[in-house]
């Protein structure tokens, strides 16, 4: 049996969707929204640091060290030892504001940070930059997807992967009883097809499982995401669990 689970789809967030190609000074309500997004990014970073420390007994000195680096906002780790770390995260559309976090014995990145407080935001927004023309709908920006991509019927594709008609890895023929998983990130285009040049294996039990998961999601196919009545490109994360 092959189980397919559609995981993270773009999270809804309040805030204005401004027209690409224009920018204005950000209003206070928007700034609050952007800061909330940065706080979420910091929480994701904290989770990643905790996982990294469990595996390596020290904190990561850069997001490049993570297998699955946080996406969306530029994150910079300022200090990282076995006993503490600090970081700042910026909003790519709002230069001037940033949120910080510091844990353990790492000092706060700013003197204006309240003592004893683990995280917070400071700075002032100097501009609101436009969304890039090819922006994806993802947790990285504030757009709301009315309807995420819908996976089509995967039954036939699952059968073809299982009996070797679709996949050439022979994973299941060679390893009966194999269990594994792969977590993939890709872009579903406006035609419902997976974009070939934007595909990441986030996690996998082995290389063959990643290949079979890739074959499966490509062959399942998608109905494209829709926002405001228009089909849109959407960043999708999907986990495929194999259990035969």
């Amino acid at each position: 049996m092959v189980l397919v689970a559609l995981m993270a789809c773009p999270e809804a967030a309040p805030g204005q969707v401004r027209q690409p190609g224009t920018w204005t000074h950000a209003d206070s309500a928007s700034i609050a929204t952007f800061q909330e997004q940065l706080q979420i990014a910091l929480q994701n970073l904290k989770n990643a640091q905790q996982s990294y420390r469990r595996a390596h007994h020290t904190y990561a000195p850069s997001v490049e060290y993570f297998t699955d680096p946080p996406t969306g906002h530029p994150v910079y780790i300022l200090e990282a030892t076995a006993s503490g770390w600090s970081a700042v995260v910026f909003h790519e559309r709002v230069p001037g504001i940033r949120c910080y976090i510091h844990e353990g014995d790492a000092p706060s990145p700013s003197g204006r940070v309240e003592p004893g407080k683990e995280r917070g935001c400071y700075g002032s927004a100097v501009a609101l930059l436009p969304l890039k023309a090819d922006s994806l709908l993802s947790p990285a920006n504030e757009m709301v997807v009315a309807q995420p991509p819908q996976q089509r019927d995967c039954h036939e594709a699952e059968n073809r992967v299982r009996d070797g008609r679709l996949s050439r890895t022979d994973l299941f023929q060679r390893h009966p009883g194999f269990e594994g998983k792969a977590r993939l990130r890709f872009v579903v285009g406006t035609d419902g097809e997976i974009e070939p040049g934007n595909f990441t294996v986030l996690e996998t039990s082995n290389s063959l499982a990643a290949l079979d998961a890739m074959v499966l999601v490509v062959n399942c196919g998608y109905e494209p995401g829709i926002m405001n009545g228009h089909v849109v490109r959407v960043l999708v994360q999907q986990q495929v669990n194999f259990a035969y």
Partner: protein, 230 residues
């Protein structure tokens, strides 16, 4: 769609080759890589500080982001580095600079107040992870790339019905084994080519990167030129 995939073809891997200029750089004696990167990062912070002072002369406040410096002062990144303004107000600023090729290294400066003598940046970190994914690298990255020229043995024959180029980004551990969690296709014209490239990667043997004689993890981008068989 992909149900009609065929598997009678040949594919080949092209390993990035060094230019004669790169080869010359390889023979130059150098200080330890870590020290050289710290020098570059200090230079980037010094340049940022000069821009901040010029910005304050005009605006009466330090710039809170490199975006502002770029708008007002034409500031641009030093090749191979990323500099950020950590904090800034009317009377002080602090900043940090990072290496793109060796992200484990960083330098910080400040808070530096008006009229204060320029303090030396504090630099820390280990050169234990090499990232060579920039398509237009700095001269220093070219040298690192050259001294860590990809030594790969890949199958010369692999089934593919499509032809094209795939850019694949991946991490090698310090034994030269690719880590499939984190494999990323960054350029491809056909999802079938992306699949073949990952399949090929799983069958290649690599040598790990080395920095100052130590084997380290590395992240790379490699082009796979796949040619369909007849």
């Amino acid at each position: 769609m992909a149900g009609s995939w065929g598997w009678v073809a040949a594919a080949m891997l092209l390993v990035p080759a060094a230019t004669p200029a790169d080869a010359a750089a390889q023979t130059e004696p150098s200080a330890s890589v870590r020290d050289r990167v710290f020098d570059e990062l200090r230079g980037a912070l010094q340049r940022l500080g000069t821009s901040e002072e010029a910005f304050r002369d005009r605006v009466k406040s330090y710039a809170s982001s490199t975006w502002e410096l770029a708008q007002q002062d034409g500031w641009s990144e030093v090749e191979g580095t990323t500099a950020i303004v950590v904090d800034a107000d009317d009377s002080s600023w602090s900043a940090a600079a990072f290496s793109r090729a060796l992200p484990g290294l960083r330098c910080t400066v400040g808070p530096r107040r008006i009229g204060e003598a320029a303090a030396e940046a504090t630099c820390t970190g280990n050169a234990d992870y090499l990232v060579l994914t920039e398509l237009v690298p700095s001269p220093f990255e070219i040298e690192l790339r050259n001294t860590n020229r990809m030594a790969a043995q890949c199958p010369s024959q692999i089934a593919s019905r499509a032809t094209g180029r795939v850019l694949i980004e991946f991490t090698l551990d310090n034994h030269g084994e690719p880590d499939f969690a984190g494999v990323r296709i960054t350029e491809s014209s056909d999802i079938r080519l992306s699949y073949v490239a990952i399949q090929m990667l799983s069958r290649c043997k690599f040598s790990p990167a080395e920095i100052d004689g130590h084997k380290v993890r590395s992240r790379r981008v490699s082009p796979f030129n796949i040619v369909a068989g007849q």
